[in-house]
Amino acid sequence: MNLLPWTIYVSFAGAFLALLAGTRSASAARWVALATAVAGTLLTLLAAQSFTPGPAMQTLVDVPWIGELGVRYHLAVDGISLTLLVLTGLAATAGILFSWNIEERTGEFFSLYLALIGGVYGVFMSVDAFVLFVFYEIAIVPKYFLIAIWGSTNREYGAMKLVLYSFAGSALVLAGLLWAYAAGGAHGFGLDELTIAATHISHPSQIAIFALVFLGFAVLAGMFPFHTWAPTGHVAAPTAASMLLAGVVMKLGAYGCLRVALPMFPGAFAACQPIIAWLAIAGIIYAGFIALVQEDFKFVIGYSSVSHMGFVLLGIAAATPLALAGAVLQMFSHGVIAGLLFAVVGRMVYERTHTRQLAALTAMPLHRLLPFAAVVFVLAGLASLGLPGFSGFPAELSILIGTWQAKPLWALVAAVGIVVAGAFTLRAIQVAFFGSTGARASSVDAHAHPLPPITLAEKSGALLLLAATLFVGLKPDVLLNWIVPALQSPAFQAVIKGGTP
């Protein structure tokens, strides 16, 4: 267990080493990055092995940092954090495998990449709001550079939009936290301390602070109507960055809502519950419909991400034990599946065909040119539309059942999103890979100009993520056995009790 903080340190050390190695050779930087990510994954898995699920946060490190403010460098985990740490490890490793072909400033790319990962690990372990915020910022900054330097379509615009939203979001969070700290007369930024302090604040102020903090985090989770940074960001980002963006960075937002905003203000949350739920539902359906008419392959996946994150937010909004557990499961599931989808679109297809326009892709017999990519995308697509056997199914099922327990109407409307998800996923599969127009005509020149074959790195990355989604889909209790006891903690119980209308 106590090895977990090393995931952060190893990632930062790896970031530094990758930068040094990059000055010598690109391949050295790659191997350093891969070794770092694998080490991080192994550390999380090792910790998972010896993890005893329980309601309490299990402290890993706790030392004073800024004495005057009462800020402590306090890291602790429960089952929810552990789930997301494992996800981070997997997504990071897969992302590096899918960036194996980065030739331009390789060292710097992986350096920023690992710094981002380190920040993400840090967020998932922080139980001091200040430390959490610091790690949160560490995770956001490299994202900008990854997109602005290595991105593709419209990268300045995408990066600008993303930064605008991210920093606006974190400004709201910071303002909210400081307000709570001051108004509640807290002596530290520990989440428990702030929770107690928050009870001294008047109800209207509580609602205002809750709104600030929740909104600030929810922006990063892609909550409608503050989601527009996500699709453009994804499209502009290089493959690995969009994998991380959808895979873990959007989870930072949802995690912040769940870990910080809800337990701190259970009463205010109860008052805002319907608004959050309806925004979540609007996101599920609205983004699904948009995905249905996109002409850029990556936009389809980008909007599908927003739609699936809507389920996470809905689960959080419903705040029954089942819905919350489902929301965490969905974070894991979506992290893996979205990573896979972006990998196929961005790496396997785009970097070989140099187009993401569905109209152009449909003219190529991609299923014959890139059979492996086609199979992976079909499987990932099926996982994404919630087919049983893949992780999305137990997650969305738990969220829907849990939501029904809170308010049947929410579940009823949200379930429509599942049909829409089916429609846009199948459209993407058919148009991109099994396009019919000219399939026969161009099969001749397919042999004349074969696309570069799928590399071993890509195959390993795809298999890693596929295995993860299948494993969790078949045995969701592996993760739920960690998540469910964590919901027994007093903090979450207050949310659940105060949360159910």
Partner: protein, 671 residues
């Protein structure tokens, strides 16, 4: 030999292993993939027979084996296996028919490049279908329900290079998913009301008395329906989608784009009947509201009327189709309507009996059609066939048996007995006789369109080059036809001389023999149907493919409307389809111009203030602010360097920052 319910997983696991083998072997591993598929299916057949043997030893027992899938603190999500005669009969039927169709496919798909994939998908389908049958949990049933939908999608679109096949696959998946949405909502509601999704669970299952009483006890405020009625109707939505019932029947005829063995297995014999099986399985829930007299609506009444409409509608449209597979597809729609009708009027055993007999004779008809299509070089239009009776004797004879079973030719053929059971039950129904009349009308139409199909395909002279050169297929294709034909006749024994099957399925039901007058009436109607069909199409066979259809000349408008399937597809495209794309375009517009516009505006504003600030900074403010502005400009330069591509310096700086932070943290951690 005793077969415990806890071992039922073996039945779906066998084809699942075959599917895995099919997925893993290279493209050239044709023999291995097909061999594994057929061997696993035959093995599953024997295991199913063993299970049937055990189930019949005590037909009233619902032997169940339950286990937790995942635990969520407040309640576990449990799954389970269930062994009772319904499951066992269905398993035997599915494994038997599948085995034969797999064997037939060896011949039919011989030349296909994706041969091994075909068997992989077929095995996947069989595994999901069998899982659906042995499920003791609505959740497990739903899981397998989705997976058979997937297999159906993959197999309809198997020849995806045909745009029509790709479109049909998508249409099938999405149409059935609309029905599944209702099913899912019903499932959520059921779980919320009962805390369980197990069918039988030692008195706590959702199909057991205590739960059902609780469910009927609750009434909805808005419309006076009991909760059990509402849940039942929602689950029925799933059955409507999967079993091609009106108004979601539109996908099933299009599904004929798949290879013919697929049409036979999935879109005639097994998967489309899953909706009927589902309603039969949850029959206690569907009929729970029957004990209450003062409710506005009984769930089963809806089932009966939907079934009746579908039975009649399908039969009418079949009259005006020209594609041999489409005729059979609409016939399937119509027959599934019969089964739903039987369920609705209260005789689930009659429905299952018809399901079983239909599976055999409709599989026979489809394989027969496949044999014709294979021989006639993929010619499917009956106007271009003709004269095949003399060239393909085995296909002709077996197809004739299937046709007579479907038409309900009396006594010798199983279809007669199962259809008789349904008409009898409809006659007994005390709510309305309209379903009975619809059923009787469909009897005439069925006999008529099948006679037309026979006459056009097998009699007269060959009307095209393709059918002129047709000859009988090899034994690998004809032997399954013969076996299925034998079954189409032998299954009569399940109902005659005594209704043995229905008694085994539901020992508590007392079925008295049907009225003789109804039987006579239906025999007369069959005679009318065949007679008129022969009079119009058989006596004077069509001369060329272009010669006019006698019915079409008599009533061109009606036939044209029926040929266009009464415009359901156009109606849906104009309403649901347009609404859907309207929403999508609206959302896309909002995204681009409203939300996107707001962001752009904000960004422009940011840039503007940036410029103003810099101007102010450089031109107005000096002195005391020098150090501050210097810092700002320094950062700005680093920032702009990152933008222009020269990020080395800045990133080194970041890295240095990280190192400092990291050292700090590590030192802090070790203290």
């Amino acid at each position: 030999m005793y077969f415990p319910a806890s071992h039922l997983w073996i039945i779906p696991a066998l084809p699942l292993v075959a599917a895995a083998i099919g997925a893993l072997v290279p493209r050239s591993g044709r023999a291995l993939a097909s061999g594994a598929a057929i061997a696993s299916m035959v093995a599953a057949f024997f295991v199913s027979c063993l299970a049937l043997h055990t189930a019949l030893a005590d037909p009233a027992a619902h032997a169940a084996h339950n286990f937790a899938w995942f635990d969520v603190g407040s309640g576990a999500m449990r799954l389970g296996w269930l062994l009772d005669p319904l499951t066992a009969f269905m398993c035997v039927m599915v494994t038997f028919v599948s085995s034969l169709i797999f064997i037939f496919s060896l011949g039919y798909m011989k030349e296909d490049a994706n041969f091994k994939q075909f068997f992989c998908f077929l095995s996947l389908f069989a595994a999901a279908m069998l899982g659906l049958l042995v499920a003791n949990s609505l959740l497990l049933l739903f899981i397998c329900w989705e997976l058979v939908g997937l297999a159906s999608y993959l197999l309809i679109g198997f020849w995806f290079h045909k745009p029509s096949a790709a479109a049909a696959a998508k249409k099938a998946f999405i149409t059935t998913r609309i029905g599944d949405l209702g099913f899912l909502i019903g499932l959520l509601w059921l779980y919320d009301s009962t805390g369980s999704l197990l069918f039988f669970d030692g008195g706590h299952g959702v199909l057991e008395a205590a739960t059902l009483t609780a469910l009927t006890g609750k009434t909805l405020v808005c419309c006076g329906l009991t909760v059990s009625t509402a849940i039942g109707l929602l689950i029925f939505c799933g059955a409507v989608g999967k079993s091609g019932q009106f108004p979601l029947h539109v996908w099933l005829p299009d599904a004929m784009e798949g290879p013919t063995p697929v049409s036979a297995l999935i879109h005639a014999a097994t998967m489309v009947a899953a909706g009927v099986f589902l309603i039969a399985r949850v029959y206690p829930l569907m009929s729970a509201d029957q004990v209450l007299a003062n409710v506005p609506l009984h769930a089963l009444t809806v089932v009966a009327f939907i079934g009746a409409i579908t039975a009649l509608l399908g039969a009418c449209i079949a009259v005006a189709q020209n594609d041999i597979k489409r005729i059979l597809a609409f016939s399937t729609v119509s027959q599934l309507g019969y089964m739903m009708l039987a369920l609705g009027v209260g005789s689930w055993t009659a429905a299952i009996f018809h399901l079983l007999t239909h599976a055999f004779f409709k599989a026979l008809l489809f394989l027969g059609a496949g044999s014709v299509i294979h021989a006639a070089h993929h010619e499917q239009d009956i106007r271009r066939l003709g004269g095949l009776g003399a060239k393909m004797k085995i296909t002709f004879a077996t197809f004739a048996i299937g046709m007579m079973a479907l038409s309900g030719v009396p006594f010798l053929f199983s279809g007669f007995w199962s259809k008789e059971g349904i008409l009898h039950a409809a006659h007994e129904w005390d709510v309305s006789h309209l379903p009975l009349y619809a059923g009787l009308a469909a009897v005439v139409l069925t006999a008529f369109y099948m006679t037309r199909l026979m006459a056009e395909t097998f009699f007269g002279k060959s009307r095209s080059h393709e059918s002129g050169h047709a000859h009988e297929n090899s034994a690998v294709m004809t032997v399954p036809l013969v076996l299925l034909a034998a079954c189409a006749i032998l299954l009569s024994l399940l109902a005659w001389p005594s209704p043995w099957l229905q008694h085994q399925l539901d020992p508590s039901a007392h079925s008295e023999p049907g009225g003789i007058s109804l039987m006579v009436l239906s025999i007369v109607l069959v005679a009318v149907g065949i007679g008129s069909g022969w009079a119009i199409y058989g006596r004077k066979p069509r001369a060329t493919e272009a010669s006019p259809d006698p019915l079409e000349t008599a009533a061109p408008d009606i036939i044209a409307a029926l040929a266009a399937r009464l415009g359901f597809d156009e109606l849906y495209a104009a309403t649901v389809g347009r609404l859907n794309s309207g929403f999508a375009s609206l959302a896309d517009f909002m995204e681009r111009w409203i939300w996107g516009g707001a962001v752009t505006l904000l960004a422009r504003f940011g840039e503007f203030t940036g410029v103003v600030n810099r101007e102010t900074d450089e031109n107005t403010l000096n002195g005391g602010f020098d150090s501050v502005s210097h810092q700002i400009r320094g950062t700005g330069r680093a920032y702009s360097r990152a933008q222009t591509g020269d990020a080395h310096g800045y990133m080194r700086f970041i890295a240095l920052g990280f190192v400092v932070l990291m050292l700090f943290v590590m030192l802090g951690g070790s203290r």
